[in-house]
């Protein structure tokens, strides 16, 4: 798991992961690259991350992928990220394509729902919590 300040250097990260696994004998490699869209007049997005729980969430996925002979990777931005640049990459390497296609889908969806990361719109110099696009984590409401 890799956390970077600001926009991700997508080519560098992609190349690094490829090189790391160049002789691991995985037949399928599927990265998912998330890029900030120019919409709603934003200048970009900004992210808070709570790293200790993100690391545990990620470690759970490493263990889950391992049971299928696969590995997962993840990189995410902290702080401000301009439109048309990337804030998120996750990836699956696996021996066979079917497992890779299924894992990347589950991994990305679970990430959106349960990774402890908070998103803010950057607009007119303000940092506005993206409340309506945010999802309560599993088990929310315990103290409500």
């Amino acid at each position: 798991m890799e956390i970077y300040e600001g926009s991700l250097d997508v080519k560098m990260i992609f190349g690094k992961w490829l090189d790391e696994q160049s002789h691991s004998n995985y037949g399928a490699f599927i990265p998912f690259v998330g890029t900030i869209r120019d919409e709603d007049d934003i200048d970009g997005l900004s992210f808070d991350i709570y790293e200790p729980i993100l690391q545990k969430w990620f470690d759970g996925w490493v263990a889950k992928a391992k049971t299928q002979g696969a590995i997962v990777k993840m990189a995410h931005s902290r702080g401000d990220v301009a439109i048309h640049t990337s804030s998120y990459i996750s990836a699956v390497f696996s021996p066979k394509r079917r497992i890779a296609l299924e894992l990347i889908d589950e991994f990305v969806e679970d990430f959106k729902a349960n990774a402890p990361i908070w998103k803010y719109d950057l607009k007119n110099g303000k940092r506005i919590y993206a409340q309506e696009r945010s999802t309560p984590m599993i088990g929310s409401g315990l103290l409500g």
Partner: protein
């Protein structure tokens, strides 16, 4: 004493609280007008482990994190 921290957009500094269970903590936090509206939609971790039962006990020195709705990516 336990420490309570409010993550992401909640925008409240850490609190020191006397509480021996999450139920007690809930009662205390509901009295705070900044924090109360977040409780229905926030998840809870104790010492960085997610917890799912309100009858979970707290011990001196525990650190409780309140995690509001997330949106990574």
């Amino acid at each position: 004493m336990i420490q309570v921290e409010f993550l992401g957009p909640i925008g409240h500094s850490d609190m020191q609280v006397e509480a021996s269970s999450l139920e007690q903590l809930s009662t205390i936090l509901k009295q705070n007008p900044i924090i109360a509206p977040w409780l229905d939609k926030s998840a809870v971790a104790i010492n960085d482990e997610m917890v799912f039962r309100v009858d979970t006990l707290l011990k001196d020195g525990d650190r409780v994190s309140i995690l509001p709705p997330v949106c990574g990516g």
